[in-house]
């Protein structure tokens, strides 16, 4: 039998499937991103935050440890398998971004599921992606005003898309009733039984 330790197959499969939906979004987001990129003034960075959304949405739906990391890895491998323009890069970025989001959820001991925590996770993923960019893109060599614009735009975009929007998406999803199938029984559920 399965032990209680770790995620169960049902949790993993649900996370993976949710992530693949976002993998498709990630893949479609690529052409959109580089079509706004040549404008140069980092307008593209405002939409960058979409690539962090799998972690926050999956965490909000399933509410278990490890889900955010797994979701971001699965979404990036989905994007990779569908033939991402960035190739192998997306897997490594996915790993780092998922890890940074996971750290935030772990810091709140997987007990909080509000807008603030997911926005913080989105910001944390942003930091992860910036660390990668520091190695990959020499972003520190951009002129100061340009770099500030770059980082600022990415943070704002991430919080709006993967924080606030992700939260409202899951709120809307809760109304369909599917989230009750996947979440662990909460204290209110037990209270309802004892009534």
């Amino acid at each position: 039998m399965q032990t209680n330790k770790g995620l169960k197959l049902a949790d993993i499969l649900t996370t993976v499937v949710i992530s693949i939906v976002f993998g498709i979004v990630y893949k479609l987001w690529g052409p959109f991103y580089y079509s706004v990129k040549p404008f140069g003034l980092h307008i593209d960075q405002l939409v960058y935050g979409m690539w962090f959304i799998a972690a926050t949405v999956a965490y909000l739906i399933i509410r278990k440890p490890g889900v955010a990391l797994l979701a971001e890895i699965a979404a990036s491998s989905g994007e990779f398998i569908m033939g991402s323009e960035w190739g192998l890069e997306v897997l490594i970025y996915g790993l780092i971004q998922g890890l940074f989001a996971e750290l935030v959820f772990a810091a709140f001991r997987y007990k909080r599921f509000d807008v603030f925590v997911v926005s913080l996770a989105a910001a944390s993923s942003t930091i992860g992606s910036l660390i990668m960019d520091l190695y990959k893109g020499y972003i520190e060599e951009l002129a100061v005003w340009n770099l500030t614009l770059f980082i600022g735009a990415r943070f704002i975009g991430a919080i709006i898309i993967s924080g606030i929007f992700a939260h409202s998406l899951v709120k809307a999803l809760e109304k369909t009733g599917v989230t009750q199938m996947v979440r662990p029984a909460s204290k209110e559920d037990y209270d309802a039984l004892n009534r």
Binding site: I12, G40, N146
Partner: protein, 261 residues
């Protein structure tokens, strides 16, 4: 990537997928620490050779796959070229400030993005996802519950794309497409797609658990994946290309800059 394109199965297809993934990851990290554009240009040539000569795909498809990479090359290079720091000014107009240093740094970034894309393309064109996950289970001891979940997930991609079409058509019929912002639009697609996917995932998970797909002890595998002489060939090719790129860059540099930082 599953495509209905006829391809020859070459030795690149027969390499152990775990080994291929690890070598590609090492190359990825290695390339991050190369600051000499000459080395990157040589490496690009080496990997282009690998793709065109040994991937086993018809030339016209390969060229088609490479097309979006040019966008990546240009878009990655352009903001560093226009806005990067540097001493030797070539051109200045308003906020745009092109210097010799920023130009070559931009070029370097373009080549780097191009190499990452090439490596990814070579990997996804020559590796079947099924073999990859079987190999990850056997060689890298990935837990079966993760591997089979990924495999099941990959099989669902076509169904999801079909559902996406259905939602799109349904919205079109109802005239819902007009007057909505991006977020509303995404929500309109994401809610039905996600809720259906979650329901489907739950059903599949129950079936898989009943058939003990999550079992780890005394597991047997339908595909037994091991190592062969092709793995040695691959490793030697990569090592030779890497050393040759470095060596050639010291004796025949294309551009006189050895460090773009």
């Amino acid at each position: 990537m599953r495509l209905d394109i006829n391809y020859r199965e070459t030795w690149l297809h027969r390499i152990n997928p775990s080994l291929k993934l690890i070598v590609m990851t090492i190359l990825f990290i290695g390339v991050l620490f190369i600051h000499n554009p000459n080395v990157l240009m040589n490496l690009t040539l080496g990997f282009l050779l690998l793709l065109f000569a040994f991937a086993g795909y018809p030339l016209k498809y390969l060229l088609l796959f490479l097309l979006p990479f040019l966008f990546i090359f240009v878009s990655t290079a352009v903001s560093m070229i226009l806005f990067g720091n540097g001493q030797t000014t070539w051109f200045q107009w308003g906020l745009i400030h092109i210097t010799e240093e920023s130009f070559f740094r931009g070029l370097h970034l373009g080549f780097r993005a191009f190499i990452f894309a090439l490596l990814g393309l070579i990997f996804s064109l020559t590796t079947r996802p099924v073999y990859l996950f079987y190999s990850l289970m056997q060689q890298l001891k990935l837990k079966p519950k993760y591997a089979y979940s990924f495999l099941a997930g990959i099989r669902l991609i076509p169904i999801m794309l079909e559902e996406f079409q259905t939602v799109q058509n349904a919205l079109k019929v109802r005239g819902a497409a007009e007057k909505s912002n991006v977020f509303q639009k995404i929500k309109r697609y994401a809610i039905p797609l996600l809720s259906q996917s979650i329901r489907r995932a739950q059903r599949i998970a129950i079936a898989m658990e009943a058939k003990r797909f999550s079992q780890t002890v005394s597991r047997t595998f339908y595909y037994e994946i091991g190592f062969s002489k092709y793995d040695v060939v691959f490793a030697i090719y990569i090592v030779v290309i890497s050393l040759l790129s470095y060596y050639l860059s010291t004796i025949y540099p294309y551009i006189p800059i050895t460090d773009v930082r």
